[in-house]
């Protein structure tokens, strides 16, 4: 790396970086808020909605058990969605900014 004199403010002000920042912020916080809410539905449901959790759905398997298992699926899905989006979009956008800095297009 030979970017000892990088103009950070210029990169920050660059429309490409601003676009990356906007996309990432919206996407990351959306996922984060969703996952926290979904997670806390489990302890809240187990404590305050016992009847729903105890309802048998599939043989002896009740709703609470399926809901707990769904937490795993949702966590994995969030990881999958995020990595897809980051690999396909965020990394490419960041790479473009790095290229612009290295080639002197952002000074």
């Amino acid at each position: 790396m030979s970017n000892s004199n990088v103009n950070w403010a210029a990169i920050d002000a660059n429309p490409k970086f601003q676009a990356l920042h906007r996309k990432k912020t919206f996407f990351l916080w959306g996922l984060m808020v969703f996952s926290i809410i979904y997670y806390f539905l489990l302890p809240i449901g187990a404590a305050y909605y016992k009847e729903l959790f105890n309802t048998k759905v599939w043989g002896v398997v009740n709703f609470g058990l399926l809901f707990a298992l769904s937490e795993f699926v949702v966590a994995w899905a969030i990881a999958f969605v995020y990595s897809k989006k980051a690999n396909a979009q965020f990394d490419a956008m960041a790479q473009e900014i790095i290229n612009d800095v290295n080639s002197g297009r952002i000074k």
Binding site: Y39, P43, E71, D91
Partner: protein, 694 residues
């Protein structure tokens, strides 16, 4: 280097010698002990070979702390899983499920969801900005000396709580499993862990964690396949068998007590799959969830793992692999736990270890053919050896985190002002590792017999209330500055520790003495009670603190019949002994085969009851002697003041609030000016530390 190698092999040989010489007692019968030691020997030899190989390429600071940043994303994912699946989650959760069913499984969920926070907001920025420690991230745009000192102190605090819990848990585990003395197992874990860390640094630690994670997952898959296969891998079919199992039904009846009176066996079994047998206080449950979900992202040894990969993309890949492995493992715990409940039985599991920690190993023994079979004991030995490797690997990661905070942050960063030659830095890192390792061994031995659950709760609560707000706001808030970080970390740590000290986690002699007296002197009869209406008046503060004038909300209570007086231990023993003598004298005179078998079974049961009563009596007497004359906890309280076991609900928001308030009150121009650089770097990876070894 060659001298180092000789020393560390001498240490390894000494350790194997110790283990063999001090064996006595435990869950493995004496004639199968040799097999346990053989399996332990093989696993220790494998990890030693890894360390030998890693030591050859550990010369620079980057190699020592960060494995030369040459660990791949997938490798790091396995290493994170190895770092995370501690004895508590490996043995503890399976145990909780085997004793309490559904509630045990709820623990698994929080421990996985924690990684979403790590993935979305921590892993990539940390990789792009940090060098070796959490202190590096905090010092980026703040006063390096002040922030590094506070970060190092917090790292050492969190690591020490977690480390002690692991050491105590490990010592007890090895003692219960194969009968090696507690002190010897703690020293054994300590010496091995020191060998990995001091000679092989992060590279050896990483590979030991990978090896252990692979062994752990393999062992679990085999056990689950054996448990589940007879039901054609059908979930409802398998759980139907769990619900219909008489041991499970008996356990639920025992847990519910009087409430089980009118329930059919099917209802009792079904109750095992429903919430509420273990976790009683929903607010406490939410507080614990908060500490878990946010604490993992503030754990120094987890943060440190992201400095070992070459790029932010690799950091992302590693969290995704870790989530796959950890989540997959936790789904397996459902089968390990319920399988152990059904096949081994909760009674037997709890009789060997009250917390249920032996559920997994006992299940392995059962599936292999039981206590008297070669395969059964081989499988038990294998699970025991994996558990041992687990403790060593987790402890190694924690020691590395503390040692790097001491050497890199405090010694090199603060004392030497970042002016130390690379060689001096590596020496400092190794010296710090030895110091931390020796302290860990001493603290582990001193903490013998302590309840470690509150230490784990503390570690997560401090990490979530102190480290996470500081790291998070440094990364995502422009106005965050030195004073904010210091205030947040100090207040977060002190609040978390302070609240735990006055919480139900501590020992309250008055209650212990009262229950010991109950065991020894019996309980008086309880008259019948009329039904009580529900009490609804309760404020949120009353749920959290034992304040004066607080009335706790209670659901309506049904009428209860009169309860007979319970005899004291001595009276109970006398009766049992009388019964045993009567049975023993009558046995030789019984000619009928069936009657004789019944009498023999009765005698065995009475003898078991005598042993259990004597044990309870001895414990009650020991408790009385231990707490004689004391009425208050070490904090001077007769009963807990803070009612939650986990302080997260209060200390986490407070930690965030302090960072925000102090940052706003004492604006720092430099920190705000450097925000552009920090934010661009964390998002693009420009100027990030490159890999140094391939």
């Amino acid at each position: 280097m060659s001298k180092n190698h000789i020393n560390f092999f001498l240490a390894a040989i000494a350790l194997l010698g110790c283990t063999a010489a001090y064996a006595a007692g435990g869950a493995v019968a004496d004639e199968f002990k040799w097999m346990t030691f053989a399996v332990f020997g093989v696993i220790i030899a494998i990890t030693m070979a890894i360390t030998f190989w890693a030591a050859r390429s550990t010369h620079t600071t980057s190699e020592f702390y960060a494995a030369g940043r040459s660990v791949s994303g997938i490798q790091n994912g396995w290493a994170i899983a190895g770092d995370y699946l501690s004895a508590a989650s490996f043995l503890g959760i399976a145990g909780l499920i085997s004793l309490y069913g559904y509630d045990g499984f709820m623990y698994s969920v929080g421990w996985l969801v924690a990684y979403i926070t790590v993935l979305l907001v921590i892993a990539e920025p940390c990789r792009n900005i940090g060098k070796y420690t959490m202190g590096d991230i905090l010092a980026f745009r703040n006063d390096p000396k002040k922030t590094k000192t506070v970060a190092a102190l917090s790292t050492i605090t969190v690591s020490t709580f977690y480390l002690t819990a692991q050491m105590v848990g490990g010592g007890v585990l090895i003692k219960t499993l194969i009968g090696i003395d507690y002190e010897i197992s703690v020293i054994g874990v300590g010496i091995l862990m020191l060998a990995y860390v001091v000679f092989g640094g992060m590279k050896a630690t990483t590979w030991v964690q990978i090896t252990k994670a692979v062994l752990l997952v393999t062992a679990s898959i085999i056990l689950v396949a054996m448990v589940w296969a007879p039901y054609g891998f059908s979930l409802p079919g398998y759980l139907q068998a769990v619900v219909g199992d008489s041991d499970v039904q008996k356990q639920v009846a025992k847990l519910l007590g009087d409430k089980a009176a009118n329930m059919t066996p099917e209802e009792l079994g079904q109750r095992f799959l429903e919430p509420g047998l273990f976790l009683k206080n929903p607010i406490d449950q939410i507080s614990l969830g908060l500490a878990l979900v946010l604490g993992t992202a503030g754990m120094p040894h987890i943060l440190m793992r992201f400095f070992t990969v070459p790029t932010a993309q690799a950091a992302r890949t590693s969290v995704i692999w870790a989530m796959g492995i950890i989540g997959g493992f936790y789904v397996l715990t459902l089968f390990l736990g319920t399988g152990a409940a059904m096949l081994v039985g909760p009674d037997k599991i709890a009789s060997i270890d009250a917390g249920g920690n032996m559920a997994g190993p006992l299940l392995a023994q059962f599936l292999g053919g039981g206590e008297q079979s070669y395969l059964g004991n081989f499988m038990l030995a294998f699970v025991a050896a994996v558990a041992f490797a687990t403790i060593v690997a987790v402890v190694a990661g924690l020691v590395l985190a503390s040692a790097s905070a001491m050497a890199h942050d405090i010694y090199v960063g603060v004392i030497r002002g970042d002016h130390a030659t690379p060689k001096e830095q590596v020496v400092a890192a190794r010296v710090a590792s030895v110091i931390v390792g020796v302290i860990a061994i001493i603290v582990g031995i001193m903490a013998k017999g302590q309840n470690v659950a509150h230490l784990v709760a503390l570690a997560f609560a401090v990490a979530a209330s102190s480290n996470l707000p500081a790291v998070f706001l440094t990364l995502y808030w422009k106005k965050c500055n030195t004073n904010g970080i210091i205030a947040g970390m100090v207040v977060g740590t002190l609040t978390a520790i302070g609240l735990v000290m006055v919480s139900p986690n501590m020992t309250y002699p008055k209650a212990v003495i009262a229950s010991a007296n109950k065991v020894l002197n019996g309980e008086p009869a309880v008259p019948a009670k009329e039904a009580q209406p529900a009490v609804e008046r309760s404020s949120f503060m009353c749920e959290l603190f034992a304040l004066e004038g607080c009335v706790t909300a209670k659901p309506a209570q049904p009428a209860t019949p009169e309860k007979a007086a319970k005899p004291g231990a001595a009276e109970k023993l006398a009766k049992l002994n009388e019964k045993a003598t009567a049975l023993e004298t009558s046995l030789p005179t019984i000619a009928d085969v069936v009657a004789k078998a019944t009498a023999e079974a009765d005698l065995a049961k009475v003898k078991k009851d005598i042993a259990a009563t004597e044990k309870a009596k001895a414990k009650a007497e020991a408790d009385l002697a231990k707490f004689e004359g004391q009425t208050t906890s070490i904090m001077g309280l007769e009963k807990p003041f803070f009612l939650l076991k986990n302080p997260g609900l209060i200390s986490i928001p407070l930690g965030f609030l302090m960072v925000i308030l102090f940052s706003l009150f004492t604006r720092d121009k430099r920190a705000e000016e450097m925000w552009d650089e920090l934010y661009v770097r964390q998002n693009t990876g420009i100027n990030a530390e490159a890999a140094t070894a391939h």
